[in-house]
Symmetry: C2
């Protein structure tokens, strides 16, 4: 296994490429153990830190699993990372060459439904800001938004003129967050959604539900519904 002449690959990218090749061509099969950093550094004639960097990237992209003492193994089914933007809907619409307008349909302080409170990890007793808006492209409904906002988490939101700037845009620009979760699904348009989107109730809508928080403070829960025809694309 040893005694191989150094192959003289430099830079962690070339090391990574070579490792990926060996994984891709099944020279190392799923489940197999990969040689240690030191051994690979010797083989490639580079510093261990360079191999380490390459392997860290492979682990990041889900191709291998690394554990101290146990070594690194090829993963059976890789988890790949995709970039998911939290979009400013205005820009999404303008990017399609349409004129943006939005309408604030509701703004009130209410106690949230149990399901929403649960997702935010807040007691139902506390009132939240409830906002419903419709985003339009060239005058036609593009998406409708149902949002519950924890005002304590976003100081200054009370002073914002939400007729001028949509809550979506204001939050993206002004509310930093450290984490969140996202849920995609298809549903039949509810009566309210159908009305907002000018479609018939029961027609399919693409639904994005998103919860975000800043450290341990929940910020907002939002449900966005897009009429069928919209699609969300990402690269992996």
């Amino acid at each position: 296994m040893n005694g191989t002449a150094p192959v003289e690959i430099n830079s962690w990218e070339r090391v990574r490429a070579e490792l990926m090749r060996r994984i891709g061509e099944r020279i190392w099969k799923p489940g197999d153990r990969i040689p240690g950093e030191e051994e690979l550094a010797r083989e490639f004639g580079c510093a261990r830190a360079t191999v380490s960097r390459a392997m860290r990237e492979l682990a990041d992209s889900g191709l291998i699993e690394r554990r101290r003492r146990a070594g690194s193994r090829v993963r059976a089914s890789p988890d790949r990372k995709a970039v998911l933007r939290i979009p400013i809907i205005r820009l999404e619409i303008e990017g399609r060459g349409m004129a943006y307008r939005h309408r604030l349909v509701e703004k009130s302080e209410l106690r949230p439904p149990v399901a929403v409170a649960a997702r935010l990890g807040l007691p139902t007793a506390e009132t939240l800001l409830h906002l419903r808006s419709v985003h339009m492209g060239d005058g036609r409904p593009f998406a409708c938004e149902d949002r519950w906002l924890n005002p304590g988490a976003v100081p200054g939101v009370g002073q914002v003129d939400l007729e001028r700037i949509s809550i979506n845009e204001w939050l993206v620009l002004n509310a930093p967050f450290t984490g969140g979760d996202i849920r995609f699904s298809a549903a039949a348009a509810s009566g309210m959604e159908a009305e907002s989107l000018s479609i018939e109730a029961g027609l399919p809508v693409f639904v994005v539900e998103r919860t975000t928080w800043n450290d341990d403070t929940p910020i907002t829960w939002v449900r966005l519904a897009y009429p069928s025809g919209y699609s969300l694309t990402t690269r992996i």
Copy 2:
């Protein structure tokens, strides 16, 4: 701005946390320039490589933008990375405590429709393997799959008994890929989908379309349709 006493933060994680804090609390606002690596290394009393690592992670998670010579800036609207698995549907179903079964509905060699050929970047003249399957949990349809496969990209697929192992599972385990793109949407179930899923045509289905390739070789295009009720969750 200088002359600050070293704050003695060690390890790139603590450096990252401190930088995140300054970004989150708007000490550095979106668009602002962040001090250079060397200056921060002096401030934190650590090596430049440590600051570099911290800032690379921040750039990776989309919080800052880095450019040589120009320095690093806080991004206005961060792109966050989420992990998207390409699931083995059998495991998805068994994970919900249901018994898995699948049915291969069609297997043929055909010239693909223009839209499919275009997505794969292949000429329509070339025949592809066309596969349609239904995945079932506890005997009820869970998802249906319409797949076009480039046989040249996956040697050995001809010998596989696709009644025994689903093409989805076989590919995840045996066809390495380097990239792909994914498209989520909602649609009204087509007649064929409705029949496969035992629902009425026109009802909402959640649709995942995925194209994968290995370097420049397209591997497969697949459309998965899930009846409403299914949702895909990810963390950001």
